[in-house]
Symmetry: D2
Subunit: 175 residues, 4 copies
């Protein structure tokens, strides 16, 4: 492979392909703001909305949600890999950002919305195909009228911590 | 979508589909460690290696690299979107983590490797399809024998800062 | 006051003064490295070493330590204040950094040492004289051969979260 | 020290003492909010206010300020030291938090105020008495109606980076 670039007949034996589908994300915008956070997730759980596009792109999903808490799962795939053969840290960051954001969202009243201000994630152990399904639990630590903070932990099937994260969210009201 | 449980006649009119390909990431492992960082990227630039899988999955690419510096690009797509119709923060985190890591990698001698210890990213402005191609420039701030730090900035086509980030890397030697 | 700057006879009625003492910090260097972490803290608890200078300067102290865990206390004083009449965020950062570092130190074998690579702290509620004594509990989240991560939470006397933090430490061995 | 419990004849030969003074911090509260940020610092520079208490406690001072930028200085002292004989990371965090906050403050209109939401600091090189005066320059990276971000770098007298930091601030308006 290292000698192949100008080759007019590229070696495709080790090329893999993937096809996936997603739905128009605009379906979320109005209900996410009009419903109380916890009602929004209830409707989502009942299949009331399709998953957002990024969930399909990275193969992750929300599996559990309760007051101030959200759990996502993602099963590592080769197409998550960085150059050194482990799940790219950005994939773990996406998983954490999702769990942190949804945990905060459960606390919001109808008429309010949130936006993530930041994410700090610590990578503590590499994730690979051998890790099995990763679980990311996000929990609200603090919530006020204008901001919230949350923390998340990603564990593998044996309970080892793969990464942990904290984030701040800005809460935007009706007024 | 095809599994949308309670709906016997799913509306598929707004479903989109994407197919993409990537190559076996294992081709990177040995040369990434055996070459000086800057030589590794030169060979990469000449097409000596295929891009890593995550680049294909998220549609991002390394466009420029020099001593202590790496630039990535990503053009927002609907399949990067979160539920509220903007590029998911995790996509920006992946872009930043890539630029930060490659900037550090340019500084490594043959026989050493690095791993990202963490990422802190500040989201300062939403990215959307209208942002045009995002540019992420990563730069090494500090490098020692065992650790390095780097910072990155993501800007849109008009130069506005979409996000900025810092990270620490651990450097692992031969011995 | 706003009209007073060129006044040749400054009003000193609202000036406060403080005197404090500390001991030579060099007494720590050797035993911190020669003892197992947990033995070091046991000796410290028995009065085997004076507190480090920064503890005296900021009026904070280690009150509890166990395997992978350390608790510090600090009672807000006017001399901790920032311009807007609350405890400066840097004082909370110092408290958190101390608890995080000591929590990691408890896990170290004789012949190893650690250094803090970073600190991320979220300020969730202002601390004032009215907060009463602040408690900061640090806990190790992950520890490997070369790095460790820890998290800390600062609470007031009613249990409200004033700040929370995460950090990475580098572990340096004998060899 | 005077309480060192098990020692009947404490060795006080290596005990040091320091006395310092500060002024009532309440003088800041009203003008900090009533003036444009840049006017506030101009008045401060003219000696219109005493320095805040924490500046006296840690021996740091604002030495330069301009639109979106603030520079603090601190000269390491033994009373800044942690147990291992270097300036405690929390002291560097206090310096960075001050420069970051003031840089944001310069951008505020009269009638608004800010509060620090967080601080992320990377410690890249130990600071000691031998470092000479440390300079910390903070700069605003991004400012909107509700939040701002800033970055800071601490360097020693030879220009080496001792630490670097990023932070988010919440901006609170009149309304």
């Amino acid at each position: 492979m290292s000698a192949a670039p100008p080759d007019p007949t590229p070696d495709t034996t080790d090329v893999r392909e993937r096809t996936y589908a997603w739905a128009d994300p605009q379906v979320f915008a109005a209900p996410a703001r009009e419903l109380d956070g916890i009602d929004f997730f209830e409707k989502l759980g009942e299949g009331g909305f399709p998953p957002p596009p990024i969930n399909a792109t990275l193969g992750m999903g929300l599996v559990e949600v309760s007051d101030g808490r959200a759990v996502f799962e993602l099963t590592p795939q080769e197409w998550h890999y960085n150059p050194i053969g482990t799940v790219h840290g950005g994939v773990l960051a996406t998983l954490a950002d999702s769990a942190l954001g949804c945990a905060v969202h459960t606390k919001l009243a109808a008429g309010t919305a949130y936006t993530s201000l930041d994410l700090t994630i610590k990578f503590t152990r590499p994730a690979t195909l051998g890790s099995g399904t990763l679980t990311c639990e996000g929990r609200v630590v603090s919530i006020g009228r204008r901001t919230a903070t949350a923390q998340a932990e990603i564990t593998d099937t044996t309970g080892r911590v793969i990464a942990h994260a904290v984030a701040s969210c800005l809460i935007m009201g009706d007024s």
